[in-house]
Subunit: 403 residues, 2 copies
């Protein structure tokens, strides 16, 4: 490998924000400051769209104080974009790189962002333009390949677990049936995280439905009825991506029913339609009066002041390592390897090829899902709990010994 | 006033849970332990329904360690109830008090609970049964009379403010129109709290709609359009209790439109119907593609690990003071007086008559609402911000100087 070129660098953030994507950004910035081969570090505003517009800010000029606040802030401090660049778009990006002498490209995002890195890297090679393109992983869905887990997931998992812990205590105080709809279009990791705060045998969520395990409405209603008959209450965690056994997601079905005509297109997040629909079905079938539904929505990915310490630390490391790897290699994606479990939880970072991550997604492995397809296994708790950085303990007195 | 009788005491929690109602409970327990005139302190499970069923636990037996966890746990550790006792129900309660030699009654709840205290206290007086009935205030709505503010509000306000801070940064990253629907059927304090985390001039929420200021759909849409044209994005905080100028709440209207047929009764919380309806109307009128809606739901009142320190401390004081007042007076409600503002924020507690609080509610005072009826004033921030115990600082880089 040739020596690292002395040139400018650009960093950007793509896709749905997370609670720690800014920690990764700060990791890139603080590491870049240590590398004399990186002349200027530009932040592109609104991801790839900011690159083609040359909408840059000078990140090395930002004070350490401000950077610490950035690292602790949710959402994407440079703005984001849903643009999925095609070849022509990527060519424009490469033109800007050539014009601005940008030879380092750090892109914080999911599998689409890894793919953008991959395409631009290939174009640069073909054009004989030396470029170092690195992908820094982020996603609350935890669905990237190679890496043990994704920065962003632990913080979202903490939010979901704390929300369900509170909601389950609320449901004990005023019993009924409660549906909580959780993000994750294709992967159930975040919905599974609803169970991470369980402390008592009868703690909710009592049922968990994941995109990986399609079920019929009949089975769903029978499950809910069984729990309600046993406990007099039921807390249900449902993924927004849950599907029927016929291959159609429930969200699609909801928009097709007469009751939902006004709702427009199949939009999973930013609407309470799916959860409300399930509440209606339960109410109609089980004749239970108190049925409520909440959709956690964007709070799961952008909530101020609630990071998983473990997640924030790892996200920052991933940013730093991207810069370190770029001083040695031409391209890659930063990945996490778990080197210790339980109380000895530890990780190491390594480089993997962009092609291993680009455009690929991971689902919940079978060993994380219970046999009935309506809950998670202890193996999933072992996997996911350390990523939350620990959860608060709670007490309920209503089931203590009576006098 | 006669000496405090040596007898048993009962404490219970009523109505919608909050994040610090358990801190008040622990305040009652720890203070009762210091009072030899209180023989046993019973916790009634599920409020008044637990009293009539004599469903009690012995609270003095619970260890200090467990009590500290209780104080930090959201929701009502003794369970709650929506029962609104009539005279016959109250007579049953009094019968249990006589049978169990209960002469202290501590009831943590809103104005309905104060009224239950009031009725039972009157009945006891008429029956010549010495009873000391004390109401401990709690409500996330902040709508009780006499007290400067209500325990429970500060924690819910912190949740709402942190949620909106994150959501506003999310909306900057991926611009569009975002509606956030917030609890508070008749009082707008909690919806107003959406503005407490504003740090930059163009931070959201850009529009705030309170139950105290009914508006027409036309004015609402015109407001949103104006902000969107100016900023290219818009974050809107809407109270679930918002009403039209014709006196009908929007939630009622939603359930009457054809689009919402499947939704059943007018239910404000535990459904995303109102927020989704507003999103649909905005989309139809303004032709903006990215319109999203979240309903914060039960997370606002029961979220594990997120208390306002100020609120938790005051809630505990209120519990303690109820027991202290009961050693001197026959009945009352604990109230908070603000004795210092801003950085010198401080409070004192005092006793007020049950009749001053029972069945009465407070709305947002006019000086807290802006002239256009679509936002709050600096006076409201001065009033409410100290109650959150402080909010995190955030940074956004997208509007920093360009290179």
């Amino acid at each position: 490998m040739a020596n690292a070129p002395k040139a400018n660098a650009v960093v950007s953030q793509s896709g749905g924000p997370t609670g720690v994507i800014n920690a990764s950004l700060v990791g890139v910035i603080e590491e870049a400051k240590k590398h004399p081969e990186i002349k200027n570090l530009y932040g592109a505003i609104h991801a790839v769209s900011g690159i083609v517009k040359e909408n840059f800010i000078d990140l090395k000029k930002i004070s350490d104080d401000v950077l610490e606040t950035v690292a602790a802030s949710p959402s994407s401090a440079l703005g984001s974009s849903r643009d999925k660049p095609d070849d022509e778009y990527c060519k424009k990006i490469l033109d800007v790189f050539k014009k601005q002498d940008i030879r380092y490209f750090f892109y914080i995002g999911g599998n689409d962002s890894a793919n953008t890195c991959f395409i631009i890297n290939n174009m640069a090679q073909q054009a004989g333009f030396e470029l170092r393109a690195f992908h820094v992983p982020k996603t609350i869905d935890n669905d990237l390949l190679v890496t043990d887990h994704c920065p962003g997931f632990g913080t979202a998992a903490k939010f979901v677990a704390c929300a369900i812990m509170g909601d389950d205590l609320d449901n004990r105080a005023l019993p009924g049936i409660k549906i909580d709809c959780i993000m994750g279009r294709h992967a159930g990791f975040l919905t599974g995280a609803a169970a991470l705060g369980k402390q008592r045998d009868d703690d909710g969520p009592h049922l968990i439905y994941l995109p990986e395990r399609p079920i019929t409405m009949e089975k769903f209603l029978a499950d809910v009825e069984a729990v309600y008959k046993k406990l007099g209450r039921c807390v249900i965690a449902v993924s927004e991506g849950i599907g029927d056994t016929d291959g159609i997601t429930w969200a699609e079905k909801v928009t097709k029913t007469d009751e939902r005509d006004g709702h427009g297109n199949v939009q999973l997040s930013g609407t309470g339609a799916l959860a409300d629909y399930l509440a209606m079905r339960i109410k109609a079938k089980l004749k239970v009066k108190r049925v409520r539904a909440d959709t956690f929505g964007y709070l799961q990915r952008s909530f101020a002041g609630l990071q998983s310490e473990v997640d924030a630390r790892e996200a920052r490391w991933c940013g730093r390592h991207a810069v370190q790897f770029a001083s040695k290699d031409a391209s890659g994606s930063v990945a996490i390897k778990r080197t210790g479990t339980g109380k000895n939880y530890a990780v190491e970072l390594f480089r993997t090829e962009l092609a291993n991550v680009a455009e690929k997604t991971k689902s919940m492995p079978a060993e994380f899902i219970n046999k009935d397809g309506n809950g998670i296994t202890p193996a999933f708790v072992d996997y996911a709990l350390p990523l939350t950085g620990g959860l608060p303990k709670t007490e309920y007195l209503g089931n203590k010994p009576k006098i």
